[in-house]
């Protein structure tokens, strides 16, 4: 309900804008990304920065443009990692969009569609990262940004179970995981892995020091693999734990886990089919979490079976005793 109300306001902003004169090229504004400020005539211009990353060259150019068009000379880092140029006069929209276009910078979106994905640093440079979150965010942005949906559709990528990109609060979230396997002959019984595991999924055998593994406690973070001095713990496979139906806002909902180990190559298909299901089943103004509650998770899971079966939960062969 609350969602509905605010989205309606966004439509009103667009309508008001259209009454403002011929000078503005409204084709440029289709995707939204221009947010009415409380100050008369002034808007925030939200830039499209998938994964919250920009090249330094672009940032320098954006700074110049922001300095020219922001009446107060300020920008803001949005909560979804996009840079917002504040205090821009609507009469300058055409100019600022043209200047941004010249440096290859696009404007982001508002409203009922697939939003710019967010992502942490992931495995590229974050020591905990298991998946290339930045690459995935870039791919999703290119393939799906702006696709119409019944209500907003937010995605994010976290590189590991610490989940800095908060996949549990997303309409559709992807969190990196790794399945550890133990190779007994290499193990020296040093007990480091039991120390490294923060989930008590590994305890050391009191005599040999070798790991006794409880797969039901494992959250697939890979700390044991990274700590083991002998490569006795190894990565069997990497993937994404997929979560759906989360949201923030006035009435937050926690996403539910629908796939444990989705491979990189299936992420695009998972989003495509989920958007297809959402468009077929969701009511206007209804977040996918509420659609799932109304229609039933089973309906969705049956539809997704061909994709999600590629990432089924691992069947653990418990090492140790």
């Amino acid at each position: 309900m609350a969602d509905h109300f605010i989205e309606d306001k966004s439509t009103k902003v667009a309508v008001n804008l259209e009454g403002m004169g011929e000078k503005v090229n409204f084709n440029d504004l289709k995707s939204g990304g221009f947010i009415k400020q409380r100050q008369k005539d002034l808007f925030a211009v939200r830039l499209r920065c998938p994964g919250g990353r920009l090249s330094t060259k672009k940032l320098v150019e954006i700074s110049k443009i922001a300095d020219k068009y922001s009446k107060k000379g300020v920008v803001h880092f949005s909560f979804r990692q996009s840079l917002e140029i504040l205090y821009v006069d609507y009469k300058e929209f055409t100019n600022i969009v043209a200047e941004l276009e010249k440096i290859g910078q696009k404007v982001a979106s508002c409203g009922p569609r697939v939003r710019v994905p967010t992502a942490c640093g992931g495995c590229e440079y974050n020591p905990n990262g298991l998946t290339d979150t930045q690459k995935m965010a870039e791919m999703v942005d290119q393939k799906f940004f702006g696709t119409p949906t019944p209500h907003k559709f937010k995605t994010s990528f976290s590189g590991c179970p610490i989940d800095c990109a908060r996949t549990k609060e997303m309409d559709f979230g992807f969190q990196g995981v790794v399945e550890p396997v133990w190779d007994e002959p290499l193990c020296t019984g040093c007990t480091i892995c039991a120390q490294a595991c923060k989930e008590d999924a590994i305890v050391s055998d009191p005599d040999s020091g070798k790991p006794i593994f409880d797969p039901s406690k494992c959250i697939f973070c890979g700390d044991c693999i990274r700590a083991c001095p002998t490569e006795s713990w190894k990565a069997k496979r990497y993937g994404h734990t997929v979560r759906i139906g989360g949201k923030h806002g006035r009435h937050p909902m926690e996403a539910v886990e629908v796939c444990q180990f989705l491979p990189d190559g299936k992420v695009a298909e998972a989003i495509e089919k989920t958007v297809e299901w959402y468009n077929a089943n969701g009511k206007r103004g209804e977040r996918i979490g509420n659609t799932l509650k109304r229609v039933g998770l089973k309906n969705y899971l049956d539809f997704m079976e061909p994709v999600f079966k590629s990432g089924e939960a691992p069947l653990f062969k418990a090492p140790g005793k």
Binding site: P127, T191, Q195, G209, R226, P229
Partner: protein, 79 residues
């Protein structure tokens, strides 16, 4: 495993993350490739973090001993 001879010793008990790792790194930088550093670190956070970082920097942990008093003795071969 037979005791491996070490070329240097660094006792980092009571030194917190990530300073313990930085000190280890600085020490290793003064050593030759293939030499072995003996490192004493605390149980808990240090033993959870330091071995991972050492591996990531390309060194090899060649021996690990858990001491009863709540600390670990690692031998690291410079990579």
């Amino acid at each position: 495993m037979a005791d491996i001879k070490s070329d240097a010793l660094l006792d980092l008990r009571g030194v917190m993350c990530p300073i313990n790792f930085v000190k280890t790194k600085l020490k290793l930088e003064t050593m030759e490739e293939g030499e072995v550093l003996e490192l004493v670190i605390d149980d808990g956070e240090p033993i959870q973090n330091v071995p991972k970082s050492i591996k990531e920097e390309g060194h090899k942990i060649v021996e690990v001993k858990k001491e009863k008093e709540g600390f670990f003795r690692l031998k690291i071969q410079k990579g």
